[in-house]
Symmetry: C2
């Protein structure tokens, strides 16, 4: 077994920030076409080098005149001027306006020589059957003329360095005729994925060989782009030392910063250490934060190098906390507004450790629209924590607990993140999945009936969805319900002639159950109890007779998929699942799926919307085999 | 003169919203690669079609064991297991763990058959010189194993339609192996530019022919992209009717929506009317809002058509108010958070008209960081209003005035817009332009010394910058000052042998002055007064003797540029400008440029930063000919 690197001397987080700040990530400025400048940051001051407008310009449709000719004119006593020609926008004037003369002029046209004012057409009349124009108002010199340079004058400061280019800046740049804009370069960030077990999304996966899809490379790449960097994914290097060194050095050669996220293999870490020691400098390894302990900071050839932890939520948290600010600084991007929100802890959270902790947190709004914060920690590196958490709360090393109701600041994973319109926890159900499509921005965790009721009781979730017999007593308001047919999912054609629960108990069938959090499992247990009563035996004996009663999997399709994969003879499941997967189905019973809301949160728009969706769920229930409206409903 | 279209029956704004809502802009869904999915909106629900992880996975480095073998083990009395092999991440296990056996296992590796738990390496020791492993703790079945599907189970709802894809969603999609994502299409918006006078940025401009750069096309295109649409600029159609019809119909054929922004020419409007009447339907023309009266809404062939007003601020205001929400709906984008801010009116604003008015407004923070709002209205379609305004305030038709201190909501032009760190108004000066580069996000309007002092007195600006003798009495705190040499800018080599103010008065020189808001003009007037005293004549006689004393242009380089263009013999200006432009210079005097802050706002970070920048301005003053520190400073 290779020696594993230990991180015994953990650096304080400030040292990690300082070490990263000491790295030079700033690329040179670059020129981009105006049409691609939106969202970029101006590199240099831009002074106007022409006047806008570039000529004395008529502000209205009317007549160019010598103002003195109109003095004293009014409705009753118009001045009569001789019309000597016309000037349209985009034309060189072919006339010169003398005393007693006027020229028709369009908005935007060049005021012709001789004229010093423009009269609006609405205050004039054409003298009938002649070349005369009657001017029924008196105008002063300069009236209705925008002089050359009045908008922007050549030599004026137009935009300063560091300006973020939005629609309005593009307007000013257009007016100045600028078609190429000097902008801050985006730091190029090379992302090196290591680990023999990682496969790129889209490639085929050999689960039996322990392969998993590479999550961090794409997540971190998206984070790099959000921070204003230019992510570059490098080909997967596996754990081959030479190949990994080659890829790391290639990335260092081509990028301002190289990021790798923790390979789980010790050999990958060894290679990175060795390459940095030989080709660069290790500035810091190990930071006293949780997660993030194994962070590495250093240089590699002429590039900066940062190693992120391996679990997705940890990698994204450390990236956003330590690396994204450095990328933004290098790109000239401001810290995003609204990247932090305050909220009250929905539940108490206790800590044992004396390290700065970044607690992944979810947001939910209460009935008043105020933000509540709850900890999200599935541990064990679940990727779903990524979408269940909205951000992180930094908890001081000396904080022993966060009390319920305490106000905390949540740093959002993305500035766009907002609390979901609805937060539900409960049964995993295909009708519910479709109903949720009709709610704008819901969050739903299919953790089972019991966790759903528990989260509702804790004041965290708005809605619990239960199935089967409801045992926990929690004060809720039912938004609606439907029924679903359940039973045993068996291979296509039912080759073992499974005939119901009797077969499960009496035959030699490899069965797959659901986990204890599932309401469906309770329905099965109750049905087995009823069978035991019928047979006059102890229910535990029947349960023991089922080969695989405790072989439990998590989601509603999971047992059926084991059957589909040939790994089981029968699985607990729904008729809808059996038909979807082309499997056989032996019905056992029907159970009710209930959507239950926290009474005080029934008026939340998302909860209301879900209630409406359940009320209008006919099309969805009709399309799912074995589904029906609840009798109660 | 062609008949001009009048908009006498103006529709209420709600009808314009309804008419636009009736247009179908929604494009079909499209597939994009995962790496390009960031920022897009998911079109369909995405259910997991594989388990994550796809196998029972070790959560730690250690040994795969049968838990029963460890029961009762502790530090004092370890269980001794036989090591039969090892399993690394990404490998198919080659061992089966039997009773009394264990296999070395890496984090992320497949738990081998037979094993039902993993012991952390930290709780074990290798028995010296043998194949034995001492396990110093008792583990339960399932310990340190993440079971297949525990993170995401096949069949579970992963992401719902309408989800905005950020880094975290990309993480989940990666975990599911998704490399192509079904996203909402971006509505294609064709932008047709009309008007013979418009020239694309980058092309050369004939100012004498009244040409101006096309501002609206690029501004609106940026607005379209900000709203989630895909802008497409069509070639400039000029005012040729056939060509314009061809371009409009081509855009309608290729796009979901065609936008044109008001050509100033009546003939362009005529063509658009005729094409819509022949090839589509005019739903609405003329809306009772200011600006925006001439808005058109209709259909053209199978596409939607909207005509925007011509002035840039009006076009962007109407675009953001009426069109952007429709593009966002079509793209599935949420209304951006933080697109509206509340603030107090810094000054009173009165209205005469009975129409809904969108008042362009600027933001400035007071000493407490609270937001103040002030009207920005240069009228006359100035493009600079674009960058001087941060958004618009909707003012009801029956509102006669907004009082100072009244709270109003400002709809920002872009969600990124924030109040500037510093708002200054005053003299246009090249040293100041460079000093402002050292302040983060300043706003500075070079409107002259007098407007600067007025805006400071009104409580709108933080800072005024004055030059020359200061006449207005306003309570300010001087942040710093410098001196600049001024005089007469003449052609290179001074061909008319201009020798100073005497030449200006006595010779036949065409002169260009600055406007009355400029402090430099006051310096000139005072110098002429001194010369009059010296000669014992009336100062007005001397002023009258200058050919062009009232030929006034706005910015510090403007007179010099008239000289450079051969349109004047001498211009009021700075030595620095003459040297920059390669012109001759006849010195007359030096004047002091003062940076004056509102005393209560001296502590604003932007004001502080400017004060520091002035204090450290040595390099800038040294580099500008004729510049020096102020004696006072």
């Amino acid at each position: 077994m290779p020696e594993r690197k230990e991180f015994r001397d953990l650096a304080p987080p400030e040292e990690a920030h300082d070490a990263i700040a000491s790295l030079d990530l700033t690329p040179g400025a670059e020129m981009v076409p105006l049409a691609e400048a939106r969202g970029r940051v101006l590199a240099d001051r831009l002074d106007a080098d022409l006047d806008v407008p570039g000529f004395d310009r008529a502000s209205v449709d009317g007549y160019a005149v010598q103002a003195a000719d109109t003095f004293g004119a009014d409705e009753a006593d118009p001045a009569r001027l001789e019309l000597i020609g016309e000037v349209h926008a985009g034309e060189v004037p072919e006339v010169t306006v003398g005393p007693g003369e006027c020229a028709e002029i369009s908005t935007g046209a060049v005021v012709p020589d001789g004229a010093d004012a423009v009269v609006m057409v609405e205050r004039t009349d054409r003298a009938s059957g002649s070349d005369g124009v009657l001017v029924r108002t008196s105008v002063a010199p300069s009236d209705r003329i925008m002089f050359a340079g009045a908008d922007v004058a050549a030599g004026e400061r137009a935009l300063g360095p560091g300006t973020r280019i939005t629609a309005r800046e593009i307007g000013l740049l257009s007016a100045l005729g600028v078609d190429e804009v000097p902008v801050r370069g985006r730091p190029t960030v090379g992302i090196v994925s290591t680990g023999d077990e990682l496969v790129r999304p889209g490639d085929s996966l050999e689960s039996e060989a322990g392969q998993i899809y590479d999550v961090n490379s794409y997540t971190v790449a998206a984070g790099v782009a959000e921070a204003g960097g230019d992510p570059e994914l490098y080909p997967h290097a596996g754990d081959d030392r030479e190949e990994m060194e080659r890829v790391l050095r290639e990335a260092a050669d081509e990028c301002d910063l190289v990021l790798s996220s923790g390979s789980t293999s010790a050999s990958a870490v060894d290679v990175i250490y060795r390459v940095i020691e030989e080709r660069g400098e290790l500035l810091l390894h190990g930071v006293a934060v949780k997660p993030g302990k194994p962070m590495l900071i250093g240089t590699l050839d002429d590039s900066a190098y940062i190693g992120l932890p391996g679990y997705p939520v940890s990698a994204l948290t450390i990236f956003r906390t330590f690396v994204a600010p450095a990328i933004r600084r290098a790109a000239g991007e401001p810290e995003p507004a609204g990247a932090t929100v305050a909220g009250e802890m929905a539940v108490e959270e206790r800590y044992a450790e004396g390290r700065l902790r970044y607690m992944p947190a979810g947001l939910v709004t209460d009935r008043d629209g105020d933000t509540l914060v709850y900890p999200v920690d599935k541990g064990s590196g679940a990727t779903t924590s990524l979408v269940e958490a909205d951000g992180v709360v930094a908890v001081d090393p000396d904080t022993e607990y966060l009390s319920e109701g305490e106000t905390v600041d949540v740093r959002l994973f993305s500035p766009e993140v907002r609390p979901p319109s609805l937060f539900g926890v409960g049964e995993d159900d295909p009708a519910l999945a479709r109903l949720l499509d009709r709610v704008d921005r819901p969050r739903y965790l299919g953790q089972g009936s019991r966790p759903g009721l528990r989260r509702v009781r804790d004041g965290v979730a708005d809605v619990a969805v239960t199935s089967g017999p409801q045992t926990d007593r929690v004060d809720t308001e039912e938004l609606g319900a439907w029924r679903r047919e359940w039973g045993l999912v068996v291979p296509e054609g039912n080759p073992s002639d499974v005939a119901g629960l009797d077969s499960l108990v009496d035959d030699d069938l490899a069965f797959v159950n659901r986990t204890t959090d599932s309401g469906l499992r309770t329905s099965l247990s109750n049905a087995l109890a009823a069978l035991a009563d019928e047979r006059g035996v102890d229910r535990h004996d029947l349960v023991d007779a089922v080969d695989g009663f405790d072989r439990a999997v998590r989601a509603h399709e999971s047992p059926a998929r084991r059957v589909l994969a040939g790994k089981a003879d029968a699985g607990l499941g729904l008729r809808a699942t059996a038909e979807k997967l082309g499997l056989g189905f032996v019905p056992v019973g029907t159970e009710t799926v209930r959507v239950l809301a926290v009474p005080e949160r029934v008026d939340k728009p998302g909860v209301q919307r879900l209630r409406e969706a359940v009320a209008e769920s006919g099309d969805i229930l009709d399309a799912l085999p074995g589904y029906a409206r609840s009798d109660k409903g």
